[in-house]
Amino acid sequence: MAGIKNDEWFKQDYSPAVPDDDEEDTYFDDEAFSMSEMAYDGNKSPESPTLINAFQLIGMSSYLDLSGFFEKEDVSERKIRFTSNHSAKDLVARIQDIATEMGFRVQMKNRRLKATREHRGQKCVGNLSIAAEVFEISPSLYVVELRKSYGDSTVYRQLCTKLSKDLGVPMGQGQGLISIEA
């Protein structure tokens, strides 16, 4: 059973209509990319967030995401962004904590965090895989992007609500919470 379960994990790539995050990574040779970025930035530690440039910011636009052709759900159901005044290190640690509390298995990969929750033996209800990434806008302002790789929308929304409530800039203070109401 465990063996099959392990297989399932590695076979994520082949699930129907499920674009695996890792595919994007391998295509862009993430390691090389992050290495060159770090080299350029001088003494940035591997854990520090990506210092955002305008094109990266623009690239986050849902209107430049053509996956809508292939996804049933609206992009707002699959991806949210919010701003936070917490430090990057803090953000990553807190996201890790919250996700773990909610029963997710968390992996850190460069500046990205991947959290997965899978019920043993099943690959359906309640399962969810998300990716979180932190970008720096200024030393006191960060943008967190949360993307659903696959799985239960309800659980995804729960996770998003909790994270943005705990970590996001509070309402009425130039908040950047994307509405994730259905």
Binding site: A17, N53, I58, G59, L66, F70, D74, G176
Partner: protein, 220 residues
């Protein structure tokens, strides 16, 4: 005279032989034929004329035909190679081909450049970059002060504009992308690697009655 026949026939305009399209894009002939099915659904979703109008494009992508947006418009315009206000089958396949994981990176870089060259001057200007940042902030309901916006735009611009002439040309853009490869991440759709598997989810497009619709045929 045109009415009766256009209602009856849903033939594909700008139709090109699948083998021709397969030869010129990363798709196989089978995949092009699968894309034909996708195209038929999209091009008849609002206006049953076998052509993809802007509203139909938006409906397919954003599930909301009324959403108008700077970036959405640019994407549509780039797909509309002939610039006749509609996306024909051939244009659809060739444009999607650029997003294929196996498509040459040079094509993706060029597409992104044209996308961001809002006024099609052949350069990305400072004002255009700022306009796009503001559009993103507006879309995301992110509020950043004017100062911070300026800072981000200035910093990015000066880094990319290595010739210091106040604008970013294709050469500078290419160099910039090789420094930050993730900038063209949105130019690849992993779904395209296996179209037959990607399809099931989009088949659920809503059927829209002709009588419910009031659109301008020219697709403004």
């Amino acid at each position: 005279m045109g009415c009766a026949s256009s209602k009856r026939s849903k033939q594909l305009h700008g139709y090109e032989d699948p083998s021709v399209l397969a030869a010129e894009t990363p798709f196989t002939v089978n995949e092009v034929e699968s894309l034909e099915e996708l195209y038929k659904k999209l091009s008849n979703s609002i206006i049953a004329d076998g052509l993809i109008h802007k509203e139909e494009f938006h409906l397919a992508l954003f599930k909301n035909r009324n959403q108008r947006n700077l970036f959405a418009d640019r994407v549509f315009d780039l797909f509309d190679l002939k610039r006749n206000g509609v996306i024909e089958f051939g244009e659809f396949v060739r444009s999607l081909g650029i997003f294929h994981p196996n498509a040459p990176v040079a094509g993706k870089i060029a597409f992104a450049f044209k996308l961001y060259d809002l006024r099609q001057t052949g350069f990305i200007e400072h004002e255009e970059l700022k306009e796009m940042v503001l559009a993103l902030l507006h879309e995301s309901e992110l509020v950043l002060s004017e100062d911070i916006v300026e800072m981000i735009v200035d910093k990015t611009f000066s880094e990319a504009d290595t010739k210091g002439d106040g604008k970013i040309d294709l050469e500078e853009w290419k160099a910039f992308v090789s420094k930050y490869p993730s900038l063209i991440k949105n130019m690849t759709l992993p779904y395209l690697k296996d179209i037959s598997i990607a399809f099931p989810s989009f088949v659920v497009l809503p059927e829209i009655e002709d009588s419910d619709v009031s659109v301008s045929v020219n697709g403004d």
